[in-house]
């Protein structure tokens, strides 16, 4: 049987999160439903938006299908090799000093390659700090250091606490012309909907609606709250407020069969797509402007 040839579109850096997602759904769906081996055809690709590229790479890493990439231009091939598109840069029980040494070379680049890090790794805190420091050095913007610490700390911790994923994934690309960082944090775990289902919480509100589960998580309804007090569940909601309302950035999340989008231009919605699409795990995309507004104060967003 002939391999199925799937066209990879050129997804420019000025495309919005929604259109990158749109392209991603098509490629993922065609790949999943192909009856044979798959060829991803890059003949028209000169640039790939980070919010298309990172999920595509994560999908490829965990796909059981044999996927071959063809017609990749030399500069694109070089970029894909550099960001570890085909295999991820994996950290497992790496000592902090070793991880620092490996990551040091990226301080002079505009990207943090696609990294995977073991959730059993005692040094995952150190890894978050190393990535933050690399991003700050790339962008020369010390003001974003604390917000990025907050995003990385909370979102990586959520993977550890809730997803049951063996690994977390991270990719970052500094887009100098746009003045922003596109940061992707993902897992291949049980999805937010399944996490609530497994905990047996909020089932009356959620029912079978995966977008409702996403809304619950985004509004801070944790599966692990203390009796009598809501001390958990702030990670996503505070990160979102700080990013969108404080920094003027954009937030996108997909988990299982639902996604959520929140942007400064009053885009704030949840959508269920489970009838035709399922993302294996949870993926969060953050567009972080590097020039923080003068009135931005990290402390104002703590709750």
């Amino acid at each position: 049987m002939q391999p199925a040839r799937i066209h990879i579109p050129n997804v420019r850096e000025d495309e919005r999160i929604g259109s990158s997602f749109n392209h991603l759904i098509r490629v993922v769906e065609e790949t999943i439903h192909a009856q044979s081996k798959v060829i991803w055809d890059f003949k028209d690709v000169h640039f790939l938006h980070p919010f298309f590229l990172a999920p595509l790479a994560i999908f490829k890493c965990q796909s059981e299908k044999e996927i071959r990439c063809e017609n990749i231009s030399l500069p694109m091939q070089s970029y894909l090799n550099n960001i570890f598109f085909d295999r991820t840069l994996h950290f497992e029980n790496a000592a902090k000093e070793t991880a620092e040494m490996v990551m040091e070379q990226y301080a002079e680049k505009s990207y943090v390659p696609l990294c995977s890090f073991s959730m059993t790794d005692a040094n995952k805190d150190a890894f978050g700090a190393i990535v933050r420091d690399i991003i700050v050095r790339q962008t020369k913007s010390t003001k974003i250091s604390t917000p990025i610490s907050y995003f990385l700390g909370e979102l990586i911790d959520n993977i550890y606490e809730h997803s049951e994923s063996p690994n977390g994934y991270l990719f970052s690309q500094f887009l100098e012309h746009e003045g922003c960082i596109d940061l992707c944090i993902a897992d291949t775990g049980i999805t937010i909907f399944r996490s609530y289902e497994k905990a047996g919480l909020f089932q009356a509100e959620i029912g079978q609606d995966e977008s409702e589960a996403l809304r619950m998580a985004n509004e801070g309804r944790s599966t692990k709250n203390r009796p009598g007090a809501e001390s958990r569940g702030y990670g996503i909601s505070t990160s979102k407020r700080m990013l969108v309302e404080g920094l003027g950035g954009s937030f996108f999340m997909i988990s299982g069969g639902a996604f959520h989008r929140y942007e400064k231009n009053s885009l704030n919605y949840y959508a269920e797509v489970k009838d035709f699409f399922h993302w294996n795990g949870t993926l969060i995309l953050l567009r972080i402007p590097i020039n923080t507004p003068d009135n931005f104060n990290y402390i104002n967003y703590l709750e």
């Binding site: 259109s19 997602f21 978050g128 990586i156 703590l302």
Partner: protein
């Protein structure tokens, strides 16, 4: 008995995860009645770490805990988490729109229209 714990010596400069905070429990000496947590050199402390830290403090109710050498952001985090644990959270978020798409074309049309 007094115990002084320099967090940087155990965890490094950044305190991110709940799991790390839980490790602190094992460091607290059983017969200490006063524990000083020294934040000297701590660059960042996450909300999750802070919340778990308060769980540990609650679980060691027979001891007095003091915080030393906190920087401005650490101080603010300790204050907001401590206050947040005392009352029910007010969500107060703008009501989002909820959509359901039954096929890819519906979604594509929606995304293009935005």
């Amino acid at each position: 008995m007094k115990q002084n714990i320099r967090l940087i010596d155990i965890f490094g400069t950044d305190l991110f995860s709940r799991a790390k905070a839980r490790e602190l429990n094992a460091k607290i000496i059983h017969n200490a009645n006063e524990v000083a947590l020294d934040f000297y050199g701590i660059n960042f402390m996450s909300r999750s770490f802070t919340d778990e830290l308060f769980n540990i403090i609650d679980a060691n109710g027979d001891k007095t805990f003091n915080f030393l050498n906190c920087n401005e952001t650490t101080k603010a985090m300790l204050k907001s988490v401590s206050e947040g644990r005392e009352h029910e959270r007010k969500l107060g978020l703008p009501h989002p729109k909820m959509y359901k798409f039954e096929n890819q074309k519906q979604l594509v049309d929606f995304l293009i229209a935005q």
